[in-house]
């Protein structure tokens, strides 16, 4: 029961993208195609899961004053591992995401959850938290990138949805389109949750 509650927390109540608004760099930069958004989200979720497990396991062994550097070291190691595996098995997407894979290291979601959650909770709870937050981030990226790909190229995951009659809005693929669509999307999420409260 507690597992589900923690899991749900990341998916909606404290969704990193829509509610807490962190990890914005990759959210804006690589969401011009749905597949990029999905892979980026899953890569981040994987790093989050492994680091939260490791940190919740070794939290008692790490002295208080070197806590943050140790976490950063663990995170950077996992990120590099993911980076190499992506290059080996999904080279096309790895080159599309290029810089933003190593930059998962400084994604505030990871260090934030490691510090705020994994360093204080049990392994099981940490797994629930990592899955919730990771998948919460993934669905947010997937939604944003699907919208941008649909409006910008008329397709989703490379499959044409809107036919030849649709003039693709190139601006959706540009930086400006990233800012504007995320702005509107967060506004929309605020609208939904405000309605829910009332």
């Amino acid at each position: 029961m507690k597992f589900l509650k923690i899991f749900k927390n990341g998916l909606w109540d404290e969704n990193p993208t829509f509610r807490i608004v962190i990890g914005m760099c990759p959210t804006l930069a690589i969401t011009n195609a749905a597949i990029n958004g999905l892979v980026m989200g899953l890569a981040t979720a994987f790093v989050l899961l492994t680091t939260e497990i490791i940190i919740s396991l070794v939290k008692k062994l790490i002295p208080e004053n070197v806590r943050i550097p140790s976490y950063v070291l663990i995170i950077a190691t996992m990120v590099t591992t993911v980076d190499y595996f992506l290059q080996a098995f999904l080279p096309g997407i790895a080159s599309a995401l290029s810089l933003f894979i190593p930059l998962i290291v400084v994604n505030c979601i990871i260090l934030g959850r490691a510090e705020a959650f994994a360093s204080r909770n049990s392994v099981t709870d940490s797994i629930a938290d990592a899955l919730g937050m990771g998948l919460g981030f993934t669905w947010a990226l997937l939604l944003l990138s699907s919208i941008r790909e649909l409006l910008g190229s008329g397709s989703i995951f490379g499959y044409t949805i809107l036919g030849a009659w649709y003039p693709p809005m190139a601006i959706m693929l540009l930086p400006a389109g990233a800012f504007i669509s995320l702005g509107i999307l967060i506004g929309f999420m605020n609208f939904i949750s405000r309605k829910g409260v009332k």
């Binding site: 608004v21 760099c25 070291l73 990120v79 930059l103 389109g177 800012f179 504007i180 702005g183 605020n190």
Partner: protein
């Protein structure tokens, strides 16, 4: 002379054409978080520019004399993040000792800079573009100037926004993102200005 022109072009292209925030999407967190007032935004920009210039220098040195020399490229990310963290710590200590006034202005921003992805991004770009030492330093400085430009412009707009009647659901982050979108459109006008 040719060298000088090249450096100048690199500077202009990094500040305007490939602006770190509005084109490369690096350093979005402080851009959204610390852009309420022009004063604080400028201090943040100054601190970031300072650290970025040092990072440009340090990352070139480390990459050339340690990582490449011993074939340790796979430790790139790990090394850079540790170096940046140490650098920021060092800068903080140094400023605290030498200039209490400056420390008061920049102090609270310094710890935030470590997790600013623009800094790690800078180090990684320098390696992948194989810049020379001079280029790395100029690139780091220019990236900082571009960052400062974007964040100060944004702060100026947001200060004026105080008096605007923004719909409730768009207050805060959403409206900031929409403004950033329009700024990014304006910065698109610079693309093609310089073919590097």
């Amino acid at each position: 002379m040719e060298q000088f022109t090249h450096i100048l072009l690199l500077f202009v292209s990094t500040v305007l054409v490939n602006n770190f925030i509005l084109v490369r999407f690096l350093g979005i967190c402080p851009f959204l978080g610390v852009s309420n007032q022009i004063g604080t935004a400028f201090s943040m920009g100054l601190a970031t520019t300072f650290v970025m210039t040092l990072t440009g220098m340090a990352s070139w040195l480390i990459n050339t004399f340690i990582l490449e020399k011993f074939g340790l490229q796979f430790l790139e990310t790990v090394t850079f993040i540790i170096v940046i963290a140490a650098l920021v710590q060092f800068v903080e200590m140094f400023i605290k000792k030498t200039s209490p006034v400056l420390y008061k202005a920049l102090g609270i921003f310094l710890p935030l800079i470590t997790t600013n992805c623009a800094i790690l991004g800078l180090a990684l770009i320098i390696t992948s573009e194989a810049y020379s030492f001079i280029e790395s330093v100029v690139f780091g400085f220019a990236a900082g100037v571009g960052f400062t430009l974007a964040i100060v412009l944004m702060a100026g707009l947001r200060e004026n926004l105080e008096f605007a009647d923004v719909p409730g659901v768009l207050k805060g982050v959403p409206i900031t993102l929409l403004i950033a979108g329009i700024m990014a459109l304006a910065f698109m006008g610079f693309s093609g200005l310089i073919a590097m």
